[in-house]
Amino acid sequence: MENENSAVKAPIEGIEKKATEELIEKTLELYPEKARKKREPHMSANDPGVEGCTVKSNRKTVPGVMSARGCAYAGAKGVVWGPIRDMAHISHGPVGCGYYSWGTRRNLVDGHQGVDVFSAMQFTSDFQEKDVVYGGDKKLAKICEEVKELFPLAKGISVLSECPVGLIGDDINAVAKKSSKDLDLPVIPCNCEGFRGVSQSLGHHISNDSIRDYVIGTREFADEPTDYDIALIGDYNIGGDAWASKKILDELGLNVKAIWTGDGQIEHIAATHQVKLNLIHCYRSMNYMAKVMEEKWGIPWMEFNFFGPTKIAASLRAIAARFDQKIQDNAEKIIAKYTPKMQAIVDEYRPRLEGKRAMLFVGGLRPRHTIGAYEDLGLEIVGTGYEFAHNDDYDRTYEEMAKGTLIFDDASEIELETWAKEMKVDLVGSGVKEKYVFQKAGIPFRQMHSWDYSGPYHGYEGFPIFARDIDMAINSPTWGLVKAPF
């Protein structure tokens, strides 16, 4: 998908490389010398036509700044494991990590909580001092027994270790192995202590490792395989995103056999090795797994983008090209069917949004994937960046952005504030911690991790909601009240 945009973007009026570089200089002046040196490689003015821009990523956060980043546990519990609906996910360690991540990433699930789904519940071993002193392994084994007894329809248990578990040297892997055998239930250890790595990203990786080692290949689908069997990888069903994506793929004539991991079912995930193609939405959190499945089971994979009609159409054609004429015809039919509907949305909202400037700072995918949807509505993205991306994410970003726009990694709050102000943006799209900082300054904001409690934003179902939300954010009459008349 990404190469389709290799043509250099049209320049944005008033955005020039030199001015952006001066802005970066000015921002770096805020820091003491040592921190300045550390931050300097993480921001750049985009110049895709020349040699791409170089933004360093996946480095330690500078101590003492307000970073938006989380930790490995957050990546494991909040992103990869948490959305799997039919397992009990144990936050193993003190109460806090599980408590704060409880129900806050909006990976919706279908089913009855506590009966056949458990995603909106918080299971914790609630470590006390004695658990730290004597170790929590025995307690963990007991927890697994209790979960099995109280939740007989749970299809498995994941054990997500918090910092103290790794530091005191508990062996959750051994406990999981034994419990799994004793209870005849998959009990999967995930050594995702928060101190590991520099961000959530390592948590995704560790989770993928645990899925690779303990899950995948342990089940087979009951029905006969077809040539149209696919898996939807890296859709976490935020606000119903995966459901919206699945609708299009169903309409295309493909069988979505497993979703990783939004509204996910562990046995379906375990049988993913039988599909014919992996479609990957969140590249950052799941590319590794797509590669593993390609190497081990020969499953090809491709990226796609279901944000906004332009990208959806391009993605549909690219996906269909992997299949036969029937699917390709279906793709054209779908595009023809939805184009007028999407055009009506654009016609309604674009006049109010044309030329508005937005700045994005989200996790590991949306800072580039959503750009097309904003552009469909006439907005210009003047700056974009990631909390926890890697080099390959930036490589994919440069060509999505106009020359001279700002690209940044692990931005601190003070940097974002400076840039939003200096670049006179009309909208910031970022996380909950950033939201009210900008709103106090009178700058419209959308929370783009959770769709600000709206959604879905994926697919044809999502775009009208996205358009409404962006219009609502920027054009709310409440902004006109910010300055008192006296």
Binding site: G64, G70, Y100, D131, K142, A441
Partner: protein, 487 residues
């Protein structure tokens, strides 16, 4: 595992199985099993220490909360507070990672102090720990002295710190440790023999309702008592939107905190939440230092006002007497809707104590009281409150139980209403029982953190909300014949 196990077919759970378990988890048998569990905690009503510590730090003028530990922890506390208040929570972490775990966190701390000082220009940094440095045994005191000696921070720059291990106690303990640390840091050696600044040090305790803080200040103002509210988050987490973002929009002035040993008196409004802080005040000053139950309900508010009156030699002002009268009028008007109604409540010990007191005053029953972390002393106190009233008869106190326990309890022994944080909403839905949101956190309704629930006015707010919810329920569930205009 893939090598060891034979590959099985995917089996989906049948609707019959779902129906069977759906029914089973509502039974006495299940309740018994659930209450018997020893190890797993499910849907707890308590958080960890550092959250409380951060709330304190936000309550002091120009103060930057500084997490010594993993950045993920800091992100979680900030998000948790932001989600509840819908306000920014400016705090930093020194982002310790694996090498910190091996070599200790001093380098991170020092670098963090230098950067935070230059970037965010705080008047004070309040440092507290998350799990990792507690387990590896970082010596904050030494690290801070070293930072001063190395010129990273000026010798006289205020850096109070607290050890707040998450595997010990709850957010309440973290609140206490940080508050004691901040106040003792600022006020030690500032006591002037014979000086009485005429003020009241008022300690709200872990209280995530900005309206309550304003209400404390208003009550003291009505009395004409100058109040030094310690850890005042009312502006920090309820700042105006006027087009300017301020990193530190409010907080107790540091000078006032520094002068707190010269106060006329000190009052803590939570019996169980600020023990260490109170102990410190008692050891440092001869002025009265007292602990009161949270002023929720008439009697608790009466006690608070009489204490103010006694400590400052002032009559309870007519304006507050009139408020009391209006509240009692409202309670009498509404009592028939709450009389003998059963409620389940959950939260911190002092919140529970206040709610028990209010419900009993209304002739309602605090039927299931869930305290998800507390000791024997707390249990004894709460039980004594229940025992004081005929309406407490048959009511049950559940110590160290969680919201999954509560679900079983209301399924097998139902109540008419649930009172507590957002986390109870799944129980409300499953049991089809109305849910009045009070306490922390409230994640799914707007503005409730601005509506006070202490004092006569706050009790009126609770009453309005509880009684109208019950009336709403009558309307929602009544047959056509009983769907009446008047209630």
């Amino acid at each position: 595992m893939s090598e060891e196990c034979a590959v099985k077919k995917v089996t989906d759970i049948t609707p019959e199985e779902v129906a069977r378990v759906e029914e089973w988890i509502n039974t006495e048998e299940y309740c018994e099993k659930n209450l018997a569990r020893e190890a797993v905690v499910i849907n707890p009503a308590h958080a960890c220490q550092p959250l409380g510590a951060e709330l304190v730090a936000h309550g002091f003028e120009g103060t930057l909360p500084f997490v010594h530990g993993s950045q993920g922890c800091a992100s979680y506390y900030r998000s948790a507070l932001t989600r509840h208040f819908r306000e920014p929570a400016a705090a930093v972490a020194d982002s310790m990672t694996e090498d910190g775990a091996v070599f200790g966190g001093q380098n991170n701390l020092h670098e963090g102090l230098e950067n935070a000082l230059k970037l965010y220009k705080p008047k004070m940094m309040a440092i507290f720990t998350s799990c990792m440095p507690e387990i590896i045994g970082d010596d904050l005191n030494a690290f801070i002295i070293n930072a001063r000696n190395a010129g990273i921070v000026p010798q006289d720059y205020p850096i109070p710190y607290a050890n707040t291990p998450s595997f010990n106690g709850t957010h309440i303990n973290g609140y206490d440790s940080m508050l004691k640390s901040v106040v003792s840091y600022l006020a030690t050696d500032k006591k002037v023999e014979g000086k009485d600044n005429g003020k009241l040090n008022l300690i709200p305790g872990f209280d995530a309702n900005t309206g309550n803080y304003r209400e404390y200040k208003r009550i003291c103002e009505e009395f004409g008592i100058p109040v030094n509210l310690l850890a005042d988050i009312s502006e920090t987490f309820d700042s105006p939107l006027d087009g300017t973002y301020r990193t530190y929009p409010g907080g107790t002035p540091l000078e006032d905190a520094a002068d707190s040993l010269n106060a006329h008196a000190t009052l803590s409004m939570q019996l169980h939440a600020t023990k260490e802080t109170i102990k410190w005040f008692k050891s440092e000053t001869e002025a009265p230092v007292e602990v009161m139950p949270s002023p929720i309900g008439v009697a608790n508010t009466d006690a608070f006002l009489m204490k103010l009156s006694e400590l400052f030699g002032k009559e309870v002002p007519a304006s507050l007497k009139a408020e009391r009268g209006r509240l009692v009028d409202a309670m009498t008007d509404a009592h028939q809707y709450l009389h003998n109604k059963k409620f389940a409540i959950w939260g911190d010990p002092d919140f529970l104590a206040g709610m028990i007191s209010f419900l009993l005053e209304m002739g309602a029953k605090p039927y299931h009281v869930i305290c998800s972390r507390g000791n024997k002393k707390v249990a004894k106190y709460l039980q004594a409150l229940l025992d004081e009233s005929v309406y407490g008869e048959g009511c049950k106190l559940w110590m160290n139980k969680d919201l999954w326990h509560l679900r079983s309890l209301v399924m097998t022994d139902p109540v008419d209403g649930l009172i507590g944080s957002t986390h109870g909403k799944f129980i409300a839905r499953d049991a089809n029982i109305p849910h009045i949101r009070l306490g922390f956190p409230i994640l799914d309704r707007v503005n409730l953190h601005r509506v006070p629930y202490i004092g006569y006015q706050g009790t009126m707010n609770i009453l309005t909300s509880v009684a109208n919810t019950m009336l709403e329920e009558v309307d929602r569930t009544s047959d056509d014949a009983f769907f009446e205009m008047m209630r």
